[in-house]
């Protein structure tokens, strides 16, 4: 009969971790042990399941890597120059609008590394719907969207501001990426509640046009996919180096709601306190739809 140790060896065998000698010895043992053989076949199936799941995860990660922005290999030099001229034009336009946005009554979404703070008195409603509802309202003139940033997105954002809804989504975009998120079930109502506190507690009266939240990414072994509001900054913990992430900021009724978009998921950012919190993907279908609509995907 197979012992506990046999099962440990079997696990190593099925996981390709035995050296050739031990492997041969174990195969010999398998020949005469039907129970072990059965267990091996089950273990192989389970391990194959883990591999399949991981492969699917990696493929999904790769599917989210932006490719279209790369120039096609066969493109002629003239076409490449043309493309860059267009990009430069769009960036300039984006910057122009940004620097002139004080005159606008409708805030425009902008891509940025800095997110302006708002003088917020209150408050998100108590559930995720409230966050959803907050989105479609008219932004106030003093609630301007953030600042400059990376060319690619500013282009996108400028286009978006033409949508009927007049909000102030602000985006942060940076290169680098994060590990595939590893998140548990999200409770929208919880987060919305804390977001409410956030709005009411945190931000004191400030010059709405000047104050800003910088975003920094940090690697901390204790936190693999977390965030924190501290010292007027948003810290993202994890491997946020190479991929794109975006901060979406919405203002309505003097309250600000922030979301992180990363790898096809949206995360509510609760700035109620300075605690480090895990990033949990939003599951609420209605809210997701709104966010996707705003982002244009």
């Amino acid at each position: 009969m197979a012992s506990e140790k046999d099962f440990d060896i079997l696990d190593e065998y099925a996981g390709n971790r035995l050296n050739p000698q031990d492997r041969a010895a174990f195969e010999q043992q398998l020949e005469s042990d039907a129970e072990l053989k059965n267990e091996l076949s089950l273990q192989r199936e389970i391990i194959e399941g883990i591999r399949t799941a991981r492969k699917a995860e990696l493929k999904s990660m790769l599917n989210n890597v932006p490719i279209s922005s790369l120039p096609a290999e066969g493109m002629s030099t003239a076409a490449k120059i043309g493309l860059w001229v267009i990009v430069a034009g769009l960036v300039s336009t984006g910057l122009y609008f940004y620097f002139n946005q004080n005159d606008n009554t409708v805030a425009q979404p902008a891509v940025t590394n800095e997110v302006k703070e708002e003088n917020t008195e209150n408050t998100l409603a108590n559930d995720s719907n409230s966050a959803t509802e907050a989105i479609p309202q008219t932004a106030r003139p003093d609630q301007e969207a953030p600042v400059q940033s990376q060319p690619k997105v500013s282009e996108k954002q400028t286009t978006k501001s033409a949508t009927p809804k007049t909000d102030t989504p602000a985006k942060v975009e940076e290169q680098p990426a994060v590990e595939p998120s590893t998140l548990d079930v999200f409770d929208p109502s919880q987060d919305a509640e804390s977001a409410e506190h956030a709005a009411s507690e945190e931000i004191g009266p400030k010059l709405s046009t000047k104050s800003s939240i910088a975003v920094e990414t940090e690697v901390d072994k204790r936190y693999n996919f977390h965030y924190q509001f501290r010292e007027n900054k948003l810290f993202l913990y994890g491997s946020f180096e190479k991929n794109f992430y975006e901060i979406m900021e919405f203002f309505s009724n003097n309250k600000r709601t922030m979301f992180l978009y990363y790898k096809d998921n949206y995360y509510l950012l609760n700035d109620a306190d300075e605690k480090v919190k895990p990033l949990k993907p939003i599951n609420d279908a209605a809210l997701l739809k709104k966010l996707r609509d705003y982002r244009g995907n």
Partner: protein, 179 residues
């Protein structure tokens, strides 16, 4: 990042390096399939599969590169696409009379397995994936997941695997899949 640096980072299981590599060679690799009667979608699929094969070999420490990474990945793409073309050819010339019963059962088992894996916590999933798919060392797993040391990683892996085994066995016996 130069070639060596990318490769080293990939060997360590750095997904950002993988994404970088994916972007870098996307056009080159997909062109191979597209110019050989493949669609853009098939090309992307083949390239992703090839890159994942490369990734798996690199992270498990079973790869000693004797050529440029692009050459190596390109040859995997070629092989995969050739296989796919053969498979298509066979499908069009053969009659499909495989046993439906077997297919149904095995796909049901796969679904159960996927659900059980899904029930694990994120850390558990990662530990098991890094151990069985990437075949990373316990040290690398500990580093990547922020465990204090390799013993913690080992214990975690042991417990997570045990939990998964229990879940699968319970589900399989419920469906009469166990002998």
């Amino acid at each position: 990042m130069n070639e060596k640096e990318i490769f080293e980072r990939i060997c360590k299981g750095d997904e950002k390096a993988l994404e970088f590599l994916y972007q870098k060679y996307y056009r080159m690799m997909t062109k191979l399939v597209i110019t050989n009667s493949g669609t853009e979608e098939e090309a992307r699929d083949v390239y992703q599969d090839a890159l994942i094969v490369f990734w798996q070999k690199a992270t498990s420490g079973n790869l000693v590169l004797t050529s440029k990474m692009s050459t190596y990945i390109y040859s995997i793409c070629q092989n995969l696409w050739r296989k796919e073309l053969d498979r298509k050819k066979r499908l069009s010339s053969e009659e499909k009379d495989t046993s439906v019963t077997i297919d149904t059962e095995s796909s049901e088992r796969e679904t159960i397995l996927a659900k059980c894996i899904d029930q694990l916590g994120e850390t558990c999933k990662k530990v098991l994936m890094f151990y069985y798919f990437e075949e990373m060392s316990m040290q690398d797993i500990a580093d990547k997941l922020g465990f204090a040391n390799t013993d913690t990683a080992k214990t975690k892996k042991y417990k997570c695997k045990k939990k998964l085994d229990e879940l699968v066995k319970a589900q399989y016996s419920e469906h009469d899949f166990l002998d």
